[in-house]
């Protein structure tokens, strides 16, 4: 049961971490509004779930909203800061986070909400493991997301342009790639990943103003995996989820919140560019 729990939690962490990575890869900006995006997307999913009875349809609507929101924030707020210090854009994302938090309080009052999920059953697996339909759906959705992102980066024109922009923005621009358009799409996808994670958090647990706090662990996942490596978020998420759950179970529960940061410090000491990140990336940072 503990192993199953670790796998599900790792899936959610990986998804949250991917949002950081996708945005960072394209624009070199750490999005500190990620936690609030998760919260806002979660509340939106709650409202949409009431309006749209089909879980898949409400999920699709959330993803579309997050994608448009991400692109809009990039176009309106981040892009005009091109040419200025990256620090300005990072601070701006903090301000966006505060603003989105206020929207969450104003519109949804910060109420505790749950996202209803139509498929309600439990599965008994060998080894005395019991998984809910929601956990199955979570694992399926996370796997599908990573598969789609892999195919997107490898086989689509926009995906290839994203990789090119991530590797060398100047050269990409000289080759006729609109790096602003590509960065905007990356922000959209990063926000959509946060929306997807919010939906999964909402069906697995509950949505509240504090749900985005879990994004702090996801930030650690992104750092450990390597800020420019989407694939790196997968082993990093497993490491964080496993050590966190094992520490709570076999050591002291009070260390549970601290353990991701202890691991982050250890990784940064021995491999500062992360598990699968590029060393060159560290020089850029």
């Amino acid at each position: 049961m503990l192993l199953a729990s670790i796998v599900v939690l790792a899936g959610i962490y990986a998804l949250l971490g991917s949002g950081f990575v996708i945005i960072y890869k394209a624009s070199r900006i750490l999005n500190f509004a990620h936690a609030e995006i998760v919260m806002l997307a979660g509340y939106l999913a709650v409202s949409l779930a009431v309006a749209i009875p089909f879980s898949a349809a409400s999920l699709l609507a959330v993803l579309c909203f997050c994608f448009v929101l991400g692109m809009s924030i990039y176009a309106i707020l981040i892009r005009p800061l091109a040419g200025y210090s990256v620090l300005s854009a990072i601070i701006l994302t903090v301000a966006v986070g505060v603003l989105l938090n206020a929207v969450g309080v104003f519109v949804w009052r910060g109420e505790m909400e749950v996202i209803p999920f139509g498929w309600r059953t439990y599965f008994s697996l060998p080894g005395n493991i019991r998984l809910s339909s929601i956990e199955f759906a979570t694992l399926g959705i996370v796997t599908l997301f990573y598969a789609c992102m892999g195919l997107f980066y490898r086989f689509t024109k926009i995906g290839q342009q994203m990789r090119a922009t991530a590797e060398n923005p100047l050269l990409a621009a000289q080759r006729g790639i609109s790096i602003y358009r590509i960065s905007g799409i990356a922000w959209g996808i990063g926000f959509a990943a946060a929306g997807l994670a919010a939906f999964l958090l909402g069906i697995n647990y509950a949505i509240s103003l504090q749900i985005g706090n879990i994004a702090v662990a996801a930030f650690v996942v992104a750092l450990i995996g390597g800020l420019d490596s989407l694939l790196g978020t997968i082993p990093a998420a497993f490491i964080i989820a496993a050590t966190e759950q094992l520490t709570i179970t076999y050591a002291n529960p009070r260390l549970g919140d601290a353990i991701p940061f202890i691991i982050m410090l250890m990784v940064l000491m021995f491999k500062p560019w992360g598990l699968l990140g590029t060393k060159e990336e560290l020089d850029r940072v």
Partner: protein, 405 residues
Amino acid sequence: MTKFRISIMIIAISYLFLPGKNTAFASEPYVFGFQTDLTGDARAGYAPIAEGFRLYINKLNDDGGVNGHTIKVIYEDDKSKPDLAGGIAEKLITKDNVLAILGLGYSRSQPPVLELAAKSGVPVLTGYTATTPLFPNNPAKNVFSVGIQMHPKVMPQSYNNAYVASKICPGCRVAVTSFDTPGGRLCNDWSDIWCKKLGLNVVFKSEWPPSTLNYTPWLIKICNANPDLVISTVGGANYIPLLRQMEKFQLEKVDLLVVDFVNEGDLIKGIEQLLTGTGDNVIWISRYASALDPERPPEFENIQRAMNKYGHTYSLSALHAMGWTMARVVESALKKAGWPCTRDGFIAALEKTDLDSKGLTGGPILFSSTDHYGPSWWKAYRWDGKKRALKTILDWYRVELREIM
């Protein structure tokens, strides 16, 4: 010169009509400050109290107020942030010159407010909890509560957890759990002590960080301990995922006992989140009657009417009943204090409170010069999945603080 005289006359007449200066034309209101967590982490446990209070005061003002004066309430939001609480109290006391501070929220936000109020001689009437450093038989001169008192040496909630558990399941195996916060740990320690005193077998005791989403590590240990009942002194944020994960671990037959800090709205949300269960194992202990009780007192209909008339944000709950009762306590004290009313006069009037709660709690709200909290009344319910309502499993019982210290 004539122009000058006319100007002076115009200014003098205009002054009379300035807002706030027309005392000759309308009566002054009684001014109160209501300071609580209208938003923030703990909002679910406190904001409905403020709403219940507002509904009664609106109704009272529409009926002409008290002693011919309306009641003006300045609502302030602590946002569950202790660092804001002191500043808000200071503003209410010095700038707004309130007659009393009402409500309060998170126990960790209360000390700065209570300290400032004590220095200024401002009465404080709290809702859900009063966290005072003084013993109940020697109350702070200015602090009253229509809820419960929390103190390291007396935790009524912990006593009630154990009392209800011992009544519904005498001698059974119990797991005691709570938030991993100073108040939560204290509450859990006292639940443990009272369970043992009342003959229960405590087989598991642990606290979980408030940010916990995944309870698997704890539930593995709870399963190994094999309890008949899990006591969990938490709020909705923890109760909702906990209940679902208990279902996953096939603990549907193990009772989960929670207190009214989980409001009825969150109680139902948790049950609706179950995949296959009906929530029949959920036991809920409350200081005030539940709105989900099919035999709820008729006074709830008055609250519902006020909600329809004045608008509301939260669905009807026991916390509304608490706020509504608090407003009735204020009305009763103002009637005794008369007009004008000083802070000392309001304290003296509160000390004479003997208010019929109209069935919203088990007995009257009683304050005296030596007891500012009075006895508390409690009721235990179990969720009835078929009827989708709460059914009483333990009718009103009285708790005297000095008896459980």
